[in-house]
Symmetry: C2
């Protein structure tokens, strides 16, 4: 035994590291390796996985509030610090959150924003270029517009009109970009498809900063955006999917032209 074992030699059970070799069957199949790598998973992982499991299987529902840290620590037979590390993971992935100015944490469904910011991080770090994002928009947005045309309600139209008019009014201010993005978001909502909304949302997030730059530099950008929005709304109003698709495609294509005119190289990577 090491000489470093000072005074006390507390035989602590080392809870996190023992139980290996669980998948006894099918050992001699994976590429000739007789043994699988022994699995050593830290306790904080297991704790967070356990809680995550309860959430995903809806034993813990949206809005429920989690037991206190000490409570959890006792249930898992683990120290509070360990529980806290697990909680930080869950908090980060958006599965639990703390309403501002509250102590206990509550279970929550990750909001689109959470996913989008993760996506943005990934894209930034993978040095994705502007054309990549644009291409994705070119694929998704027109189809979303077409879907929106068939599913929009009257309330949708009115909301879109409000945002459009706000853009017309404030097209010179710095809020213009926000309004353009909001128009896209709203249009996504009309399509009534959560998956596409999520994807769109991320794209918009990533694009927004450079979009602002472009709008500032290109004189006719604002008027072209106005026209496109107008045409799209009209198409939605007439439930004309084909027109909606067409105008949205034109709208998105304009972005690229705008970037060219603004002198932003198309392979510029998106950044924070």
């Amino acid at each position: 035994m090491s000489t470093r074992a000072k005074i006390v030699s507390r035989t602590r059970p080392r809870r996190g590291t023992a139980s290996a070799a669980e998948t006894g069957a099918a050992a001699v199949q994976s590429g000739g390796n007789l043994f699988d790598p022994v699995e050593r998973e830290p306790a904080y992982m297991r704790v967070s996985a356990a809680i995550e499991g309860k959430i995903l299987s809806r034993v813990l529902k949206d809005g429920d509030l989690l037991p206190a840290e000490l409570d959890l620590a006792q249930q898992f037979r683990v120290h509070r610090s360990t529980v806290r590390e697990a909680l930080r993971q869950l908090e980060n992935s958006g599965l639990v959150m703390r309403p501002p100015g509250a102590k206990r944490m509550v279970v929550s469904r990750p909001h689109a924003n959470k996913i989008a910011s993760g996506m943005r991080q990934a894209l930034v770090l993978h040095e994705v270029s502007f054309v990549d994002v644009w291409e994705a928009m070119m694929v998704i947005e027109p189809e979303v517009a077409a879907l929106a045309a068939t599913r929009r309600t009257q309330a949708d139209i009115e909301a879109l009109l409000r945002v459009h008019q706000a853009f017309v009014a404030e097209s010179q201010s710095a809020a213009a970009v926000t309004l353009v993005v909001e128009f896209f978001e709203l249009l996504g909502a009309c399509a009534r498809n959560k998956v596409l909304v999520l994807a769109k949302h991320s794209l918009a997030q990533v694009l927004a900063p450079s979009l602002g730059l472009m709008i500032d530099r290109v004189a006719q950008a604002r008027s072209r955006i106005m026209v496109a929005q107008q045409k799209i709304i009209t198409a939605l109003q007439g439930k004309d999917a084909e027109d909606a698709r067409k105008w949205m495609a034109k709208h998105v294509r304009d972005f690229k032209r705008g970037y060219e005119v603004a002198g932003i190289p198309p392979d510029a990577v998106v950044s924070v």
Copy 2:
């Protein structure tokens, strides 16, 4: 002062709670509220934000290894537990990871898998239905196929052929689903667009489980998949974007038919 202040009244600076009221300007604009909510952000948040910043701004590059926990603790003037909580956040978001069997953590770009699993969680918790996912595939996959047709290399074709043949050979086994998914992934790679690959990847992940179910239940599913893959490969080989798009659309449409035949209700929500 509370009677609970035992013996020692360590005047600890309470690092996390002080510096409020930083945005002095523009106080009287947000809906008539004179004051912004005072910002109390826990120290572990600040630490993780600080490290995240260094990563996103590439001061810490992919592959660099992070300073030791104690080191960080000293730099941030904070306890090691606090640093560890911050690290758990970064680890969870995929910005740092630990190569199996190493001590120090290394900076890493979040892999597509990481994002996809976050996306999957979100979709599950938002009770997204199968049609939603399918609709998204209907939008994305054909366009990706078209892009792939114009950009594929000879190596791509060969890789696709290998997977296709593996599917033909093993189409009866349980590995069949994996191979179908892999075909999609590979096709995405041909399109040379990271954004679309990311989106596709998530969709495939979400769809895979129920897809397995469907293939097992529907007799002619396998042969239809074979034909579609064959046609798609041929289209890619001839760089025929239009054909690629058309066959992929057919391929994806088949999935829905398969679900109908298999008796899986189209509005069944995806699950873990």
